[in-house]
């Protein structure tokens, strides 16, 4: 009657072994460290660099724990965060633009464990601290981009209203100059421009909005000071969302993103494995632009030689350094890209990129290709590379844009939203795809500050908290051992295994443990306690009713299992809702809760029953139970 299938014992032992293995990395402390990653293709990570770094550190009086070369980076492990700051301050200016130097907390988990995919749980910013970045919006670029957008809108409305114009240009002072052709209706143009601006900026023209002044056939649009401020502020808010998506896409849970001042964004990431990589992805502003080719290589070379470049065109270069004339007008810009998928071209076997545009971009592309079959289309890859130079002992930050033509093929047929192009490396295509999925940055942002921050709760506070949690847990265990005796010991073993499973699964998922996560853990332990109490009380009840001990155990487990099942499933429903709609810390709570409930169902119903069967089944004449 009191029996338990053998395979379930095997399952329990297996779970126990796997849980122990994957919970183990949490026992290892992390080293503060500095990570050096090449940021250009010429930079190499080799023994020479290692020797150079060691030399530099020695000069600065820093003794590292060790310097090691990993796959694609050099890792300098240090004793504490003070030497870490000193080391990064020493290395950063010397290694310059070719390498990116990032702060990191390096794991000390032995290789055999990491090879099994075991990694420690990340402690949240509140418990452990992490890396603190400050990014600043490039206001000039944000403004320029917005004004270009307005100018583009004006061109479209003028063309649609059939008002002739010879040029619509952004001027260096961020006003827009419109020159109409002779005899064009200036007033009609003015009305059209006003409507276009009103819909683009959300403000009516005149008053505090943009101003339009006319002089003969020349119109000038000026943005108000308020509008300029608003563009910068908007850019920060938009970028906050995009950056949050990007951080999520690289699997970092529970970052803190806060706006600071007018044009800055604070990003705090809890203990991160590869900060350099994170920085590269967060700040990356690579994009594609599509422009009509206005002159072939020969014409372009001639234009470069004579210095006589047509007014509507610009010189671009491809990877080989050959010039090409492309239209100044952007046909489709990066914010109209939805996706870029790395593919392999079926005819040539070359890496290619499948590009998807949004509907507006798709329509423009369709219109353009309809009218220009046989003409060439240029695709430009634009990447922004931030640079830091030391001038007179001060860090001077600037950024340069690298533009390169990746493709300038002839338009063979009409296409719209989806098409293929070659010319990007697989890695570039991958990165681009990831960025596009997260959304394009409204304006470029640069890292202006990077620090390692301590836990926001304070080390002593965290320690007190952990100690209190530990005592509370031990108190619970002792209470059960006294109250339910033998069954209490079984309950305790089930609770400990429960905790071990939760820690193991959370480590495996790369979840972040923060204080709200602790709340979820406390709740799941509470539910686990409840499940065990339900079982034990039910067994007592059956015994009181006069049932023989073995039958009481079986009935007790069976009846209590139903209750546990119902109450725990409702808990899981709540967890799923919180995960689906919650953000950051709430998701942490939800994940802990769901894992905790599943573990609790397993340990209370399966594990404790297995143990009880193991203890009582061999006893032939069982008169009473120690419960």
């Amino acid at each position: 009657m009191l029996e338990f299938p053998r395979w379930k014992y095997v399952l329990i032992l297996l779970v126990l072994a796997v849980a122990t293995l994957y919970a183990l990395p949490n026992a290892y402390q992390k080293n503060p460290s500095v990570q050096i990653t090449p940021s250009t293709s010429e930079a190499r990570i080799d023994e020479a660099l290692k020797a150079r770094v060691d030399g530099l550190l020695k000069e600065a009086g820093v003794t590292p724990v060790g310097t090691e070369i990993d796959e694609n980076h050099l890792l300098v492990r240090l004793h504490d965060s003070d030497t870490q700051t000193l080391a990064s301050d020493t290395l950063r200016p010397v290694l310059g633009e070719n390498y990116s130097v990032a702060l990191n907390l390096a794991s000390t988990v032995p290789d055999w464990l990491s090879n099994l995919g075991a990694r420690p749980m990340t402690l949240g910013l509140d418990l452990q601290g992490g890396v603190h970045f400050v990014m600043q919006v490039d206001q000039a670029a944000a403004l320029q981009k917005r004004v270009e957008g307005y100018a583009d809108g004006i061109r479209t409305v003028l063309r649609d209203a059939r008002i002739g114009y010879s040029s619509v240009e952004r001027r260096p002072d961020n006003s827009i100059g419109v020159v109409l052709t002779e005899g064009a209706d200036v007033n009609a143009a003015r009305t059209q421009i006003a409507t276009s601006l009103a819909s683009a900026s959300g403000q009516t023209v005149g008053g505090s909005g943009p101003q339009i002044t006319a002089e003969g056939n020349r119109l000038t649009v000026r943005l108000s000071a308020g509008e300029v401020d608003r563009i910068a502020a908007d850019a920060v808010e938009q970028n906050r969302t995009v950056i949050s998506n990007r951080i999520n896409s690289i699997g970092v849970a529970e970052p803190v993103l806060q706006r600071q001042g007018e044009d800055r964004l604070v990003i705090q990431l809890p203990g991160l494995q590869d900060t350099a990589e994170a920085k590269r992805l967060i700040g990356a502003t690579a994009t594609l632009e599509f422009r009509a080719v206005t002159g072939d290589e020969n014409q372009a070379a001639a234009a470069v030689a004579s210095g006589n470049i047509p007014a509507d065109s610009r010189i671009y270069y491809n990877e080989a350094g050959a010039p090409l004339l492309l239209s100044r007008r952007i046909l489709v810009s990066g914010d109209q890209l939805i996706n870029a998928n790395p593919q392999t071209d079926s005819k040539t076997g070359m890496p290619s990129v499948g590009i998807t545009l949004n509907s507006a971009g798709g329509k423009r592309m369709l219109d353009h290709t309809l009218q220009n079959v046989g003409q060439r289309l240029g695709i430009v890859y634009v990447e922004r590379i931030p640079t830091v130079r030391i001038v007179d002992g001060q860090e001077v930050r600037s950024a340069r844009s690298v533009e390169r033509v990746i493709s300038s093929s002839t338009i063979q047929g009409v296409f719209g939203r989806e098409f293929q192009t070659t010319g990007l490396s697989r890695e570039e295509a991958n990165d681009l795809a990831r960025q596009l999925k997260a959304g394009a940055l409204a304006a470029p942002m640069d890292f202006v500050e990077e620090r390692v921050v301590g836990p926001s709760l304070g080390a002593e506070n965290v320690e007190r908290g952990v100690t209190a949690v530990l005592y509370a847990f031990v108190f619970t265990l002792i209470f059960f051992m006294l109250y339910y005796r033998m069954f209490g010991i079984v309950t305790c073993l089930a609770l400990i295994l429960n905790l071990l499973i939760v820690v193991a699964v959370m480590s495996l998922f790369g979840a972040t443990m923060s204080l709200p996560g602790f709340a979820g853990l406390a709740l799941s332990i509470g539910l686990s306690v409840d499940a065990n109490v339900l079982i034990n009380e039910r067994i007592r009840e059956e015994l009181r009713a006069g049932m023989p001990p073995k039958a009481a155990i079986v009935t007790g487990y069976e009846k209590a299992s139903d209750t546990i099942f119902d109450s725990n499933l409702t808990g899981i429903i709540a967890g799923i809702a919180l995960y689906a709609f919650g953000t950051g810390p709430l998701q942490g709570f939800a994940v802990t809760l769901i894992i905790g409930i599943v573990a609790s169902m397993f340990t209370a119903i399966v594990v404790s029953r297995a143990l009880v069967t193991l203890i009582y089944a061999p006893r032939k004449k069982l008169k009473s139970l120690a419960i």
């Binding site: 965060s81 620090r451 921050v453 709760l457 908290g465 509370a472 209750t563």
Partner: protein
């Protein structure tokens, strides 16, 4: 003979809970209205996570202890400041909630000065490296998402409990859970403590064990309705009494554990522990005194027929020759 050496709650209690059900429901109704009144009138004292504030970067001459600085700030009436080491041990990043009328960086200079004076001591002076205003950590979407999540939870509860029990149980369980969360939130607002993300997590866990407690009692009600021949009121009383021992032990263990966190866990855990303590008490009381009585009123009145598996019976009847 006493088979069990330790029992907190005597076996076979026969407390007539249902006799006073009108009183319990009246009190509950008052508490419910009261909770909303408190939240509406007094409101929550939202913390830095929700409001944003001012970040002050202070450099000290000597390394400082984060916890000492926090205590000094608290002594100077700058409550719940977030203090973090910033790069080296001499630099601290102190984030405080700005008073409501301070919106711009310039106005924050005074506040920053106040923070500096409170944080530093004569033998470890410091200076302000920078002062900046910071936005809320919780984005504006949270409110909208919280409403979606609440709706999803509610619908999920209603569907699942209707499927496993009956729609009346589903409605009562959801109402009881809502009641618990609202009353705990109201009590928390009454304390005037800072409402931060951990308190929000605490409220969510109240929701978790509230529904758990109610389901455990309902499960017993369902079992007794199906197996025992008695009046509904008698069945409710019996079910509550049978689960009383379990309810008290679980709640007591949980309450004592959380009390330990509240007393010894330090300031950071207080908000969380307080909500969970309040939650343990309110959820236990509501599962004993409110959930079952609600099943005796108006449309929610449960009868034996509600819980008998109807479809199966009819099918079984048809199969009979």
């Amino acid at each position: 003979m006493k088979i069990f050496p330790l029992t907190l709650v005597p076996a076979n209690t026969r407390i007539d809970f249902m006799r006073y059900r009108h009183i319990f429901i009246t009190i509950a109704l008052l508490a419910f209205v009261g909770a909303f009144a408190v939240i509406g009138l007094k409101g929550f004292n939202f913390a830095l996570d929700f409001t944003g504030g001012t970040a002050v970067n202070v450099r000290f001459e000597n390394p400082v202890s984060v916890d000492d600085v926090r205590e000094r700030l608290e002594a100077a009436d700058i409550e719940n400041a977030q203090v973090q080491t910033f790069g080296s041990g001499n630099d601290l990043l102190i984030r405080v909630r700005a008073a409501e009328d301070i919106a711009h960086i310039d106005d924050n200079a005074e506040l920053a000065q106040h923070v500096l004076e409170a944080a530093t001591t004569a033998d470890n002076p410091g200076r302000i490296l920078s002062t900046e205003s910071i936005g809320a950590q919780v984005s504006g979407d949270l409110r909208k998402n919280a409403i979606y999540a609440a709706i999803f939870v509610l619908v999920g509860f209603l569907l699942y409990i209707s499927f496993r029990f009956e729609w009346k149980f589903a409605v009562v369980a959801s109402v009881t859970t809502l009641f618990d969360v609202a009353v705990v939130a109201g009590l928390f607002a009454l304390t005037g403590r800072e409402f931060d993300l951990t308190v929000l997590a605490g409220l969510l866990s109240v929701m978790g064990f509230s529904i758990n407690d109610t389901i455990v009692v309902f499960d017993r009600v369902r079992e007794n309705f199906r197996g025992v021949r008695a009046e509904p009121l008698e069945i409710f009383n019996r079910s509550i009494n049978q689960t009383l021992s379990r309810t008290i032990i679980t709640s007591l263990v949980f309450f004592l554990s959380v009390l330990a966190l509240f007393l010894y866990g330090g300031g950071s855990l207080e908000g969380l522990a307080l909500t969970q303590m309040l939650g343990a008490v309110v959820a236990t009381l509501s599962s004993i005194l409110i959930a079952c009585p609600l099943l005796t009123y108006g449309v929610l009145k449960v009868t034996k027929q509600d819980l008998l598996p109807k479809a199966r019976d009819e099918a079984a009847l048809e199969r009979r020759p």
